[in-house]
Symmetry: D2
Amino acid sequence: MIVVLKHGVSDEKKAQLIAWLQALGLRIHISDGEFQTVLGLIGDTTNVDMDLVESLEIVDSVKRVTEPFKCCNRKFHPDDMIVEIGDVKVGGGNFVMIAGPCSVESEEQIVKVAKAVKAAGAKLMRGGAFKPRTSPYDFAGLKAFGLDLLKIARQETGLPIVTELMNIMDLPLFEDVDVIQVGARNMQNYDLLRELGHLDKPILLKRGLANTLKELLMSAEYIMASGNERVMLCERGIRTFSDYTRNTLDLSAVPMLHQLTHLPVIVDPSHATGIAKLVPPMALAATASGADGLIIEVHNDPMHALCDGAQSLRPEEFTELAEKVRAIREVIA
Amino acid sequence: MIVVLKHGVSDEKKAQLIAWLQALGLRIHISDGEFQTVLGLIGDTTNVDMDLVESLEIVDSVKRVTEPFKCCNRKFHPDDMIVEIGDVKVGGGNFVMIAGPCSVESEEQIVKVAKAVKAAGAKLMRGGAFKPRTSPYDFAGLKAFGLDLLKIARQETGLPIVTELMNIMDLPLFEDVDVIQVGARNMQNYDLLRELGHLDKPILLKRGLANTLKELLMSAEYIMASGNERVMLCERGIRTFSDYTRNTLDLSAVPMLHQLTHLPVIVDPSHATGIAKLVPPMALAATASGADGLIIEVHNDPMHALCDGAQSLRPEEFTELAEKVRAIREVIA
Amino acid sequence: MIVVLKHGVSDEKKAQLIAWLQALGLRIHISDGEFQTVLGLIGDTTNVDMDLVESLEIVDSVKRVTEPFKCCNRKFHPDDMIVEIGDVKVGGGNFVMIAGPCSVESEEQIVKVAKAVKAAGAKLMRGGAFKPRTSPYDFAGLKAFGLDLLKIARQETGLPIVTELMNIMDLPLFEDVDVIQVGARNMQNYDLLRELGHLDKPILLKRGLANTLKELLMSAEYIMASGNERVMLCERGIRTFSDYTRNTLDLSAVPMLHQLTHLPVIVDPSHATGIAKLVPPMALAATASGADGLIIEVHNDPMHALCDGAQSLRPEEFTELAEKVRAIREVIA
Amino acid sequence: MIVVLKHGVSDEKKAQLIAWLQALGLRIHISDGEFQTVLGLIGDTTNVDMDLVESLEIVDSVKRVTEPFKCCNRKFHPDDMIVEIGDVKVGGGNFVMIAGPCSVESEEQIVKVAKAVKAAGAKLMRGGAFKPRTSPYDFAGLKAFGLDLLKIARQETGLPIVTELMNIMDLPLFEDVDVIQVGARNMQNYDLLRELGHLDKPILLKRGLANTLKELLMSAEYIMASGNERVMLCERGIRTFSDYTRNTLDLSAVPMLHQLTHLPVIVDPSHATGIAKLVPPMALAATASGADGLIIEVHNDPMHALCDGAQSLRPEEFTELAEKVRAIREVIA
């Protein structure tokens, strides 16, 4: 961490600050320039409150030199992490398509969709059993029964299950789930993250509506620092002033995350846009940007979907899309 | 709900849509204009998926006429709600100052600050025992022990306690707390909200970093629909492109919320700005905008605060501010 | 336009409003529902102040049914517009790569880069002679002399010139320029737009930093309503809270604009990201999203560029990118 | 400027970078720490392209220590600037109310409103003659004739005129105007700013829709660096995801700008909210936040205003507001 002092600070005040920083266990490297003094703090600065130091009267500004994330930092893990779910691999050149309905609605529906997406090339199946809904009056998922239906669909197709957990107390129900998804609204539910860090199960961590990449990585860090390294990140649109689409898909996050971290990056074009017609072009764009996978909502009968029908592809649309996705993978490989 | 059909839709398709809507239990009022047909949906439209209807090929656009929130809707509750905490009243002309440190750190600290803010006119005391932190490596609060220290401070001063709950499983520890705070990151933790709806205890619900007023009200609706009507809303800054302050305090939310809902609206200038020097002007501005109260971080020794020292006022600064706040209340009353 | 009245409005007030609307030359279609009255305004509502109507005490809400843009509206122009610059075509399936340095710096530089990008497949050359700079102390371009150098490069390569105009008074200097670019900061410089509407020359209109698609289209409308229909739109990143990249590239704008308008849509990944390493993945993503072209900064010596060196590709990087762009075009065609 | 090098950079590469920086006329202060090398650049760094340096392979990060604005920097001008318009003073403890209609519509209208706002305590009168409108089909102001009507109103009341200039070519018409307003959409119209820098006339510079405080100050710098120091800044709402109000009024900008610059800061609650009912609470809040003045839209007949009727106060509402504003000024003085 680097602390730039204001011009003309007295030696006494400077000495006080240095003593205070030393008391935090840091060594201080002083560099007196003509116009300013710069302090380099050496040692573990993870616990230094940067905002507090910056608020001091004699301090001009503070700059953190090392990122506060470690477990998920590419600098310390130069090779791509490959997350394995059964014999499905994600990351390090392994691309995965995850598909299925927003909500599990019935055995017939989930089995039908699972078979269709498998035929189209999906390697994992998604489906919500516990649904976060803005309104308390909306359908909130079939819960435990929904998980049972997902397992039936898995038995029929062999596709591993990706499904969302909203609440630590439901964790026992998720024991036989293959990948646990943390939704955007729970990205900073730190107790939940820490708990997931104790599992031996891959986590799909979605970026919050208005969270920076650094915050996303700090949330991954919560899981990894507790012991579970199998984290996949997911960009699913951020909230901006733009109002034609539900959210604004931030695809630059894909190559930027690849610079910052070794974790795989999945893109969700369905929630990002909220509009079925925009899902194929955005899925192709995400693939071209270098994403390690896609998670896409597919429903056999969007008109009667209990949730998010407006953004669901029909199986035949997904099949057509999947072919183009594979062709783009070949171009950029 | 109003559905505007595209120009030149065939009678057959129109009839199909109407039949589908009727199957949802709605009556349909058809208005055939020269250039467009408008359908008025009559009945309980709470469960109609507006996005899905809008995505249909024959539909031009959809407009919700009634807000989806009821319990917290000013239209059905024209009089201000007054939330009572012991003999402290909030709302309906009753203004409250809530003050205290970001984190409870020690008995000496919390008692000292509680006495100081009480002397300055605060009617409730704040202090974090469970702290949401972006980094897993940061100080996360004294937890249960912190709650005990808050109770000691309450005994010494008589000030009721406002403190944050992050996790349903901690709820038993909060039985003797006076007001439970839901932090910005948990504003859409729906299971938590629903659980708080079963309590007989006021809730201070903070607006999420990037949530609209409607979403804030829908979250209040979660609590109220489960039976607990004693909800206070809190504006604490939103995330924007602006980077000089930690967040952007959205004070227009205060009069706008007063139009939409009968619930009291509190403002938190400390988290909104993140900078102690900006807290007094923003606290005064919030008061002038018509807020029902302020929640302000005060610390006896900001330089050694374990958390958020940069935004904490010293007791003497808070005392001076409180006097001006009262003077502004007199101007706008 | 549809006006929804509040519940329980008196007949007298309703009649007053209707009379006022009729005085604006509109016919009113009244639809009295059980719970609300809806007025359908028929006629030219372009001049009705929607905000004013919405502010009236008896009005619940107002909804515009027809978009306020006409010349650039896909509804009235179902076929893609193809913009021709010499024998280069843009739109309607014709993809174009525009490339060149941020600023024209010298004859040697611009000729060298122009030859390189032509060899790589660019069909138009870009280069700034008049540069908008945030700081008055920054290099602001070679101005008229820069335009002369661009013309030399055109003579050497045959590539038509795309360059930015900042000021109506400079217009005479741009007579022999092939495409005039309107920069993001001038997207709502209405006098400038109107003036460009009198030219017989294609315009590349960049989206403003925080402008909606509707606003972008209204600015295109300014140019087209004055007589010049040859407008190309350009997405170049919007301003959001996200701080890892200079702007956030909004690629969903590409398919969404294609729904709303028949004008070609170009993407600028260089300004959107500000980081050379992110330009190739974002250029490929833009291509996959269905863009009609790319505008990319290429510099033979980024280290010594007078402007935006950090986001410039070297010619060999551009060549490699161009090949992949063509391969992706084949996939999505 | 401080340049932090990556860990383990070779001496050769380090020497190359230093030579390159020296060639830009800078002296380099090297500080070799245990884990990193920090270069302090001494001299005029205004022209160093920070993004370019940051993009170099051996550079970890770059930090600008001195702000790039000088003329408007509080550091070099510790005393508040007081802008004088006739005998009206703004800044340095002098508070001003500016009021009038959005657009000048007729002699009767502007004179009537001018008299009313003068009686209520306004010291300057506003009124648009040249109006920037999103749509080419909207009323764009009475132009030169509107300026004539403003002058008549000035003669009748003695109130100096504040009115917007959109285009350098209209400048001759503004010779007898007292204060020239630069609208939000023109905040980065650099040629216009530079031209205004040659005048001997106060400028009211509005913050752009999505511009940071630094960008606002850089635009003030354009005017001041050209010789005209009489600049007043104006906060008028920024664009965010929040959709209940037209813009989000960013009141923290007021005390923050006061820290950064010695220029007066005016607040425009009318354009910030777009809703007349929200103007009084936001005007009071702005006053309490320490603003040096307010600019407020007042119309004698908002229902028939040609522009922005929805956000205009009636004269009697303005009179009532003005009294409370004065009372709040007394509290915070």
